[in-house]
Amino acid sequence: MAVSRKALKALSGVYGVTHRQPLFFPSKLGCSAILSTRSVFERDYRRPGQPPDTRWPWQKIHFDFSKGVEGIKKHIGLLKDEFVQRWTGPEGRPLLEHMLEQTRVQWEFRGPESLDQWVVSSDQEIGGHSVAYTKLGKNNTTCFLYGSLCSTPPRDGETRYSGYCTLRSKQPLASFDRKKTYDWSSFNTLHMRIRGDGRPWMVNVSAETFFSHQRDDIYSYFLYTRGGPYWQDVKIPFSKFFLSSRGRIQDNQHVLWLDKVKSIGFTLGDKADGPFQLEIDFIGLCNDLAHTEEFAYELYKRNPEV
């Protein structure tokens, strides 16, 4: 039986979850990084046709006084919360709840401010023609992601494939815009309630990394929707997520570490042009005690050197 669209996407391209990432490695760099003869690897995606960014580091900082008093108030309020919340427990939740909880609802869409935590992007950043929007569903209770895909590649001579859209959560920020991470170490399964239209999506989780080479590391897995008017409960254990970087699945796999998770994202890139829609009710975490698998893929060295 032939493989589904999403499976082959895993090998050829896990979709760019930030607007800066290209969907596929541009052909100028060769079909794989090993064969490329470039001396400088650019850190961010540079849209073909634009000159490279040659500013000095001090020219890239820009001060902004327009944030004003509200910004100061907000950040000082958050800072005060951080000091005060320690007395009730980690992250403001009581210690017993933190220790004994077995399910946690991480994102639920009840009200317009829940959509502010999410970023929608499509291949318009690389010059494609897909569009993607989010809105709140009926009664302001669900996130409705809709739009239309178009897989004609942009005519810049470099990009070979196109036609994707993503919905990614923003990294949580502490006071003064410091980055914070989620701690999901007491859970092992991702539970989502979604209603799709039969298209195969992909869930991407990105974790905090140490080295700069790892900045585009994403752990992904497929999210198959059934379509139809009924809600679908999807449970994906974290041991199934495989590692990919910049869209290429990696040879050296390891399990996703749950103690510092930055964000989660959904991406669609099956090569079917046309409208799509996905409705998400909530995203939660649970601890499935029956699931004892640590990692689904082999850890030994599979491509020994010559």
């Binding site: 039986m1 399910t103 609802v105 009664n139 497929f222 139809g228 008017p229 099956d270 010559v306």
Partner: protein
């Protein structure tokens, strides 16, 4: 390759690989092995394998033999082949709702397949209300009748029988359903969620509880014996208020006449539809599933509903919105 329609044929890929000369690109000594031997040709080989991977075709042993003869054992195309052979078998059967590559070309069979796919219930039955046909009337005009297939499960039928005739049911659609590259549309017969003040708590059937049941002890014991007392796997989220879906259908054309035929066909199994006013909420483009009516639509509907209730209840009344 898509122009010739052969992109899914593994034999064609093998023939293309056969074009490469054998033994020429295989590195002979350690210096050739260190430096990328014939890099452009290796890139070409990798591109071919990448296209195979894009279309989801698993290479076979002939591909491996060809790659070994052309590029050698430790070349980039061979490495890519090894990666494909590692990951493809893992992801081949991960889809819990698989769609075959070759979909039925007959629209009736396609509709039947997709309706059984979206209906959650294995007990649901598909009924064909009309086959596609083309007739020529006396005036010489061609009348094409589209196919109409409906699906309803016994649970939905019993829920529809309990539906309050004062509230209307809505025919909504068309909603998109994607099967690989084809998009089909389906329509729903559903009711709005009942506002909490009108909800009726159903008393459980006295017959289900035996005569030994004591009046002092709770008649229903909510005990899940597979879980510990402290374990709670529910999420603290309010359930989204949704109306009930009573039936689904797929039709060749999405206009009101075709859907009215569906409703009248459905009435044979659910006679209560004759008393319930049916409101059509049809839109041309794909849209989300809506349960509560929008603010603009509510005043119009209420006016029309009042008019319907005054009419005779024998025939099923259809109201245009």
């Amino acid at each position: 390759m898509p122009e010739f329609g052969v992109e899914r044929d593994i034999a064609i890929y093998n023939k293309l690989l056969d074009v490469f000369p054998k033994e020429v690109f295989v590195p002979q000594n350690f210096i050739q092995r260190m430096f990328n031997h014939y890099p452009r040709q290796q890139e070409c080989g990798v591109q071919l394998l990448e296209q195979m991977e894009n279309y989801g075709i698993t290479p076979n042993v002939e591909t491996k033999v060809l790659l070994a003869q052309i590029f050698g054992e430790k070349s980039h195309p061979m490495r890519k082949y090894q990666r494909i052979m590692y990951w493809f078998p893992r992801f081949k059967h991960t889809n819990p709702f698989p769609v075959p590559h070759v979909l039925p070309s007959d629209p009736v069979e396609l509709a039947r397949f997709s309706l059984t796919r979206i209906a959650d219930d294995p007990d649901a039955k598909v009924t064909i209300y009309q086959y596609p046909s083309t007739d020529i009337t006396e005036t010489g005009q061609e009348v094409t009748r589209p196919h109409i297939l409906g699906i309803q499960s016994p649970d939905q039928r019993s829920l529809l029988a309990k539906h309050n005739p004062c509230r209307p049911v809505y025919v909504e659609g068309p909603f998109p359903l994607w099967l690989r590259k084809t998009c089909v549309h389906y329509f729903l017969l559903k009711a709005d969620p009942i506002p909490p003040e009108e909800k009726v708590e159903e008393d459980f059937d006295r017959e289900l509880i035996g005569p030994e049941q004591s009046l002092f002890y709770p008649q229903r014991v909510e005990l899940d014996l597979e879980r510990d007392i402290g374990d709670d796997e529910s999420f603290s989220v309010d359930d989204v208020e949704e109306g009930l879906v009573y039936a689904m259908c797929m039709a060749g054309q999405g206009d009101q006449a075709t859907l009215s035929q569906w409703i009248s066909g459905l009435q044979e199994t659910c006679p209560i539809l004759g008393q319930i006013p049916t409101v059509f909420r049809l839109e041309s483009g794909p849209r989300e599933l809506q349960t509560s009516s929008d603010a603009q639509q509510t005043p119009e509907q209420e006016v029309e509903i009042d008019q319907i209730i005054e009419d005779e209840p024998q025939r099923s009344q259809r109201v245009n919105q």
